[in-house]
């Protein structure tokens, strides 16, 4: 998997570097640099061909649309990952808190019901077991 990304990354870096050099040539154009410009233009096309080839290898990769929003706003997309992880941990803790509370409530309810309805609760425990999974 990582090889696919490395391959794409390499092609993108080459493409960007070529574009940068193209920009330098164009920014102060001299007649002698026409041949270099033509070469860079064809490098750009071959670079696009290489990136197009990488597309086939990365068909199954899904990118969250929210990441695009971060990039469009000029923000670090790692912040999205960070916020996702923080949100996941936060929700995880919330759910764990609820489960723990419900587990305590269940054990308390069973013990209290056992005091008031001993026969029924013994039957209940016979069905579900003494240490019923919570």
């Amino acid at each position: 998997m990582a090889e696919k990304f490395d391959n794409l990354e390499e092609h993108l870096e080459k493409f960007i570097e070529n574009i940068r050099q193209l920009g330098i040539i164009v920014s102060d154009f001299q007649p002698s640099s026409q041949a270099g410009l033509n070469q860079k233009l064809n490098f750009m096309i071959s670079g696009l061909q290489d990136i197009e080839k990488c597309r086939q290898q990365l068909h199954e990769i899904n990118v969250p649309l929210e990441v695009f929003e971060y990039i469009d706003q000029g923000r670090n997309p790692q912040l999205y990952t960070k916020e996702c992880l923080e949100r996941a941990l936060d929700r995880n803790e919330q759910v764990k808190g609820k489960i723990d509370t419900m587990t305590k409530f269940k054990s308390l309810l069973i013990s209290e019901l056992g005091k008031v309805f001993p026969e029924e609760m013994s039957k209940y425990k016979a069905i579900h077991g003494e240490d019923a999974p919570s």
């Binding site: 960007i16 920014s27 102060d28 469009d72 706003q73 941990l89 069905i127």
Partner: protein
């Protein structure tokens, strides 16, 4: 209280459904009519709401005297009770992104990328969102430009106009950041140096003073050694002893 419990669990068989050999809301079975004096319970939902499959339930004969008793969920099921970050081996990613402060700007993520990439993409129409909203017309393969096609790219000599030249300038923030990084530690130093440097200089002077004294002593010794009135080792021994 006992009455409430019996209504809750349906202890009284007379109040139970006619087909009490199986659970009341099994698949394909009609909901038994409730007695008028019995309160409708939350657990007595119609099959489509509360049903999780007939296979999960035991026959009511086994669950007597309980009515609507369900199988408890399997204990080893993955829930929020477990730390899911640890479960999916994401501790490294969590520590990487949440342990340190992640820099805000896009240029910090892509430092090698030329151009002003921290500006919002909507300003210059370079947003990725616009690629999704208005996908480019594609389908044709990329073919190299031949000699005839390249004639369209013959440019005029001279520099680009100002407005276009800016496109290729690196964002100044990067450079200023580096400068700031270099300056920040340097800036306070000159302020501190006057106060700090003086004692250092003094210390150096103090440190130098004994060296000079030693050098002077050595010179004197050398002179004495070369001189005919050289006292020899006997004269130096007390000094060494006194030092000890």
């Amino acid at each position: 209280m006992t009455e409430m419990f019996s209504t809750l669990f349906g202890q009284n068989e007379a109040q139970g459904p006619p087909g009490s050999s199986s659970l009341g809301f099994g698949a394909g079975k009609p909901q038994p009519p409730l007695p008028q004096n019995q309160v409708s319970m939350v657990g007595q939902l119609p099959p489509q709401l509360g049903d999780e499959g007939a296979a999960m339930r035991k026959p009511a004969a086994m669950n007597e005297p309980f009515y609507l008793l369900r199988e408890l969920p399997v204990g080893n099921e993955l829930t929020g009770n477990t730390n899911l970050i640890t479960h999916y081996n994401l501790e490294h990613a969590y520590n990487k992104f949440c342990g340190k402060k992640v820099k805000e700007k896009l240029s910090n993520f892509l430092p090698e990328l030329p151009g002003m990439i921290d500006c919002p993409g909507t300003q210059d129409g370079s947003s990725l969102r616009s690629l999704i909203d208005k996908p480019p017309v594609c389908g044709n393969s990329f073919s190299p430009l031949t000699g005839a096609l390249l004639t369209g790219f013959r440019l005029h000599t001279g520099p680009l106009p100002e407005q276009y030249r800016l496109m290729h300038i690196q964002p100044p923030k990067k450079k200023s950041k580096h400068k700031h990084k270099h300056h920040r530690p340097q800036d306070p130093l000159p302020q501190e140096t006057p106060s700090d440097s003086d004692p250092k200089k003094k210390k150096k002077k103090r440190d130098d003073d004994p060296d000079r004294k030693k050098k002077k002593k050595d010179k004197k010794k050398k002179k004495n050694r070369h001189s005919p009135d050289h006292p020899g080792l006997a004269g130096s021994q007390p000094n060494s002893n006194s030092l000890r």
